[in-house]
Each structure stands twice: as C-alpha cells, then as structure tokens.
C-alpha cells in the first residue's frame, strides 16, 4: 500500500518535471529572443538611414542595446577605425557594395552612439611626397566634375608597399564616412577601404592634370616657406 502511494507520488513529480521544465525552457527562450530583438538588423539600419535621404548617419538612442550585443548579432566588424584627433571609434561591417558603420565614443566601447552607411566615391591618384599620398576626390554628382577636392592621406594609413607601383591617373574607389575636412589638401579622417578601380577616363584626366598642377604649386610654396623658416 505504502509502495503504491510512493509510486503515485513519484509519477506526479515526474509529470510536474515533464511539464515545468519545458515551460521554463520556453520562457527563457522567449526572454532571450525578446532581448535579441532589441538589436536591429543591418537591413533595418540601412533602410532607416536611406529613408532620411540626405544624411548618411543617424543617432542611436543610448541603452537600447550594447555594442557587445550588436557584435553577437552582426558578428565581429570587418574594419575598425579611430579618428586620430577625437578618438571617436568607427566599427564597420560590409553590407551590399559598401559598409554599415557604428560610431562609439572615445572611452565608451559599450554604447553605440550612431549608425551610418559608407559613401562610395572615386579618386584619381595625383602623386606623393615623403609622408603623404594625394588624390583628386571626384564629386558625387555624376555629370559634374567641378566639385572635386584634392585630399591627402598619410602613408602609414596604407599597408607597406600598397602604394608603391601606383601611377598618376590610376583610379580608386574609396568607402568612407563621407566627411571631408576642408583644408588644402583636404583630410579624410575615416575611411573603410581604398581599392583600385582601373584608369581615369580622358575627361577625368583633364581635371586631374589641373589638380596636379595646383598640388605641385602648393609643394613649391611649402618648400619656399620651409626654406625661409630655416
């Protein structure tokens, strides 16, 4: 009799376990999936930015998700860049034919401050001096070549030897955050990739010749100033 009661009790406990454990597991899973859903997909971010039309960066409300959660969902970034001057961090993931990037503040690698889509433009190689490589950045407006900038990049921002066999007129694609500091030559603080894209066409070369002329004049003026300063 006692055995039967024990048996019944055991069975009840087993049923309870069989019912309760899956319920707990289901609750945990749903909680985890709820937490995961706080991280937007790359597509969502891309569409949100495109819907803004004119800007290619959007602010991210703090505290919605952490950078760590973003990496769990998107994987580790393909490129990491830090702005030398303000130590702002950019983490970029390849997406479509460019990048989606997250902006983190200098000493806070937990919160994502903003998201952006990289801008792709073309550049014509102009020349180099001891520490910099110079390009003519072509404007975004397809039928206009007038809005060009001469930009310079420190040599140490390229892999060793990467710029050794490059010639005047070589064309490059640049993916960057779209910000150009307006000095002469201009400065692009953050870029995600610079890749060869063939040769500049006749029209582009005509303008590149003029830009190179101006750059050579600037080299000469700079040298004069340096000599005068002793």
């Amino acid at each position: 009799m006692l055995m039967t009661y024990d048996r019944a009790f055991q069975l009840k406990t087993m049923w309870k376990r069989l019912l309760v454990i899956p319920v707990i597991v289901a609750l945990l899973c749903s909680a985890v999936s709820c937490k995961k859903s706080n991280v937007p997909s790359k597509k969502e971010i891309y569409n949100r930015i495109w819907s803004e039309k004119v800007v290619h960066q959007i602010q991210q409300e703090p505290g919605v998700f952490t950078y760590e959660e973003l990496c769990k969902s998107w994987g580790q970034p393909d490129v990491e860049r830090t702005v030398k001057e303000t130590l702002v961090n950019f983490r970029a993931w390849k997406y479509k034919d460019g990048y989606i990037y997250a902006v983190l503040a200098k000493d806070d690698l937990i919160n994502v401050r903003a998201f952006g889509i990289s801008v792709k433009q073309q550049m014509v190689y102009l020349g180099r001096d001891d520490d910099k490589v110079y390009f003519m950045l072509l404007g975004l407006k397809v039928d206009s070549i007038h809005d060009t900038d001469t930009v310079g990049f420190e040599l140490d921002r390229f892999a060793p030897g990467e710029m050794d066999n490059v010639e005047f007129g070589d064309l490059f694609d640049i993916d960057f955050n779209g910000a150009v500091f307006q000095s002469y030559p201009g400065i692009i603080d953050v870029f995600f990739s610079i890749t060869p894209a063939g040769k500049a066409d006749e029209r582009q070369m005509k303008f590149a010749e003029m830009e190179r002329e101006q750059l050579l004049e600037w080299f000469a003026e700079r040298e004069e100033l340096e000599n005068a300063a002793g």
Binding site: V55, E85, Q121, A179, Q182, S183
Partner: protein, 208 residues
Amino acid sequence: MTSNKSIQSKTLWRRFLVVPMIVAVLCSGAACKKSKAPSKKEIYNKIKSESVTNQIYQTSSAFTYKELCDSWGKPDVERTAETTKASYRAWKYNDGYIYAILDSEAENSVYAFGVSVKHQMTYVSRDDDTFYFQLLYPGETSGNCEVAFGAERFASGEMDGVKEGELFDIDYDGMVLQSYPAIIDVFFSVTSSDEALRKAAESTRDRL
C-alpha cells in the same frame, strides 16, 4: 584663574592662527580646482600646434563643462549636430570660435575641443525649405561644392532679400558631408561678408 586665563589666551591665539590657515588652504584648494579648466589661449595654441583638422580630444575626467563655463563664461553659440546630435558649445575667440563637444550622454563632460574654420560661400538660390550656397574652396575664388541648409537653421527673416552671388562668411567645424548638395552638420555663424568686413573694421578701430 591665572592658569585658566593663560589657556584662554592660548586658545585665542590658536584660533587666530589656525582659522586663517584653514581659510588659506581652502582658498588655494579652490584656486587649484579652478585652474583645471585651461584658458582659451592654451586650447587654441594646443589645437594649432597639434592638430591638422582643428580638433583635439579632451580627457573627460580633467574638468567638467560647468567648470569650463565658470572659467570662460556662458557660450556664445549652442548647436546640435544635425545627424549625430552631438552637442557643440562655442565661444568667440579671435575672429572665429573655440568650441567644445559635449558627450551626448553625459552633458557635463567635454570630450573634444576645436577651433572653427572660416570659409566663404556665395548664395545660389532657395526653395520652400532649403537655402543653397556654393562653398568656396580655401584659397580659391571658384566654386567647390554646393551646400544646402534647412531654412530652420536661420533666424526668421535672416535670409530675406539676399541676392544670388552675395558673399557670406561661414564659421564651422570644417567638416563637409559628401552628398549632393553637400551638408554642413554644424556651423556657428553665417554672416554676410559685408557685415564680416564691418565687424573686422570695428574690432581694428577698437584695438587702435
């Protein structure tokens, strides 16, 4: 009684000595605390000597934005970046501005300083809600790129009566975002060049 009198006089002397000493120590402590915020001149020189893009990083723990205001006074211009919503506070200095960028999550913390860049631009046209200018490349008289400003970024009536080709001075952080038309995320002032020339003449006269 004599002994008591002696103790009282000793206590009095101690008070006379100790209280001013404590006050002096507290004052010097306060002065040390105040001196944590650098002067505008220090920041300006540091930026000009160290930075090519006119910006430098500031260790957030060095001093607070409030301490900076105690030392520099209230900023002349407050701006929020159109895209990243970063907060900019700018103080007039020389013929431009020195600006501080505040942490968007801890507004009392300054994370970078910058010196404004002054460029010229010519007014091109406007539509219902946007003004278009041609930003002139540094040292060039020809156009560099077309830039657009939402009408809400100017005071009401500020751009009324402006004619095509009119020249303006813009003080901004020097960054132009590449789109067509281009975007200047943060500017501190846009003034007609005539006005800028008049102000420059006034300040020269004041110095004389």
